[in-house]
Amino acid sequence: MVLNFSYYVKNKTLLKNIKIESNEGSVLLISGDINKNLLLLSGILCGLIPSTDKLDIEHLEYLFQDYYGKLEIHQGILEEYYLIGDQPDRHFLFSMVFEEFMGRTTLKKENEIIEKLNQADLDSSFYFRKINTLSGGEKTKLAIALAMSSDSKCFLFYNCVPWLDNTGRKILSNFIKKLISENKKTIIFEQEYDFLLPLVTSFANFENNTLKYEKQHIKISPKLYTLIKKYKNNQSDFSSDECILNFKNVLFNNYPNNLHKIDQATGLTYPLLNNISFTITKKKHFILTGENGSGKSTIFNLCFRLIKPQIGEITLLNKNINDFNRNELCSYITYISQFPQYQLIHHNLSDYKNLIKDDFLQDKLNSIIPNSDNLSVIQMSLFEMKILLLLSSINSRTKLLMLDEPSWGLDNKQIFSLLNLLFDLMKQYDFTIFAITHSKEFIKNINFNTLEINKGILINET
């Protein structure tokens, strides 16, 4: 069955002759650019765009105008896909896990809901958990568990893989296999899709505002390999023994809402972080990786003294982090969140241009983000927000750059630009990188040192 449509906003064509070929039991993989138009495409397929009722908020019309366009279907019927998205918070309608099931599915009994949770690698303790206490990966697993309980005939997965650990990826893959066996239609919008390739029946590439079908998938941009190779060659003689960050026998046992983590296999409780020790030296960049809920973000929170360890010591530049005042600590460590909108305190691009005094940073900003000063922060893409935050946060005192999921939500071209910028900044400002990521592709290509954490224990350092 073929669906062919275009989407217009104020006589501007945002999506042109989009052809969706999907049959019962088929899996269509769409990769390529991640931009506003791709979000519109997924929104249209899921029946969320265009909306008929206008949100009448004065002066803010421009924010929502793309969602009230004109959809023209040239061929076929638009079926509503069930969405499993990249921002789980956007899709949850209630505040507790059991409420999501009771409000959105036909499951009402506790044991039925727990069974579904178990299928998505979430134990029975999650039944009464508040959604805001779950990690991003756990939220995505919950979204998959909810999808498993849905009676929909079509499913759309939108960039949800970066949230998932190995177990989560296996669950997703098994769920898609089940959808195929039940003759349901599946569309996957992904950048990281290697493990899904055996299930895919057709490939398409999204570029600008059109969709092009291809005989085979296109892997990571060759430009990225060249860039990383160049960087590795330049980096070889730089690393030194100067200690930037050190964790010594750190134990942390405070779990949200006083719940203790339970090992599903043994039923025993364990601390969130147990006896964590590692050292980050100058120019020896690290990537922190591990299963969902394993304690990665907790390590970042400890570095910023948002929480304190019960046992152990954390030092920055050979000085206990408790001895720094907040301004000093934040001038030595620059933090770039996975969701930059929380840190971007000014509202327009022009505000940031006035704020950035350094010519080098100004030039970088002008070359990456188009020169439209009136551009508001909330109109920016995730990539633009990340770049803006990075350039406005880096300074000559920065010793450690902490990045939370830097490649999350970005396409290959954007990852290339971000890495290119990071490498240039490293040359100019002489800082060390400490990043959290789930992206296997990113870890494989960047070839930084890796710290792997599982159930609160550091299991691997390479």
Binding site: S51, C330, Y342, I345, H347, V377
Partner: protein
């Protein structure tokens, strides 16, 4: 710990009408139009015991930390209240329109009852919010969905506020709790940056509001089928 958790979980499932009834009963208790000067002392004793019981209940349901913060805020407000009530008392202002208080002791007792009732209202409000489950409203059609959407929005705003606060602490823009305790100047800095926190929370709400409305509309469509 397990008992406390079980209690708050069980309360989530009690019927909605009983939760609304709980709210109405509390409104009657804290806004007593029926009391006179003769039964006034019994009422004070009852309210005192009732607020104490509710403090205990709230500490189980909402957590000791939350209650401690509420009580600290209440004490801060109480200090200002004492100042104004001294003026009220000395100037002999009418402090209640519903009854006339003949003795100074009764006036003092009535004035001291206000903040206790206020604490009770806050605690009961918190208990009510904690035991309220939006799912229970869904069977009431469009109206129920609207209530669920409002509750989700309140929940979202609270979460966003916390996330923004944490991100701003990590950026060194606002002080953390420990720094506020160490140096009182940081209280001023925190107060100065509070409008920024609120603005950012509202800005992030705009990024989310469209999508959540569409989702609730989807549920509405499904329910109407």
């Amino acid at each position: 710990m397990k008992l406390k958790k079980k209690l708050s979980q069980k309360l989530l499932f009690i019927p909605l009408w009983s939760k609304i009834l709980y709210l109405i009963v509390n409104a009657i208790i804290y806004f007593p139009f029926f009391i006179t000067e003769t039964n006034f002392h019994k009422y004070i004793l009852f309210v005192l015991i009732y607020v104490l019981f509710n403090t205990f209940l709230a500490s189980i349901i909402c957590g000791k930390k939350t209650i401690l913060i509420i009580i600290l805020l209440w004490i801060t407000g109480l200090l200002f209240y004492i100042l104004s009530s001294v003026i009220f008392f000395l100037c002999d202002f009418a402090i209640t329109p519903t009854m006339s208080l003949s003795t100074p002791l009764n006036k003092i007792l009535y004035l001291s009852l206000y903040p206790i009732r206020m604490l009770g209202i806050f605690l009961n409000g918190f208990i009510f919010i904690q035991i309220l489950s939006p799912v229970q409203f869904l069977k009431y059609g469009k109206f129920g969905l609207k209530i669920a959407l409002v509750l989700r929005s309140v929940n979202f705003i609270t979460d966003e506020f916390k996330k923004n606060r944490q991100a701003l602490i990590m950026s060194g823009i606002i002080p953390d709790d420990e720094e506020i305790k160490k140096n009182k100047k940081n209280i001023l800095l925190m107060l100065k940056q509070s409008p920024l926190l609120i603005t950012l929370t509202i800005r992030n709400l705009f990024l989310w509001i469209y999508w959540i409305i569409q989702y609730f509309k989807k549920i509405e469509k499904k329910e109407l089928k």
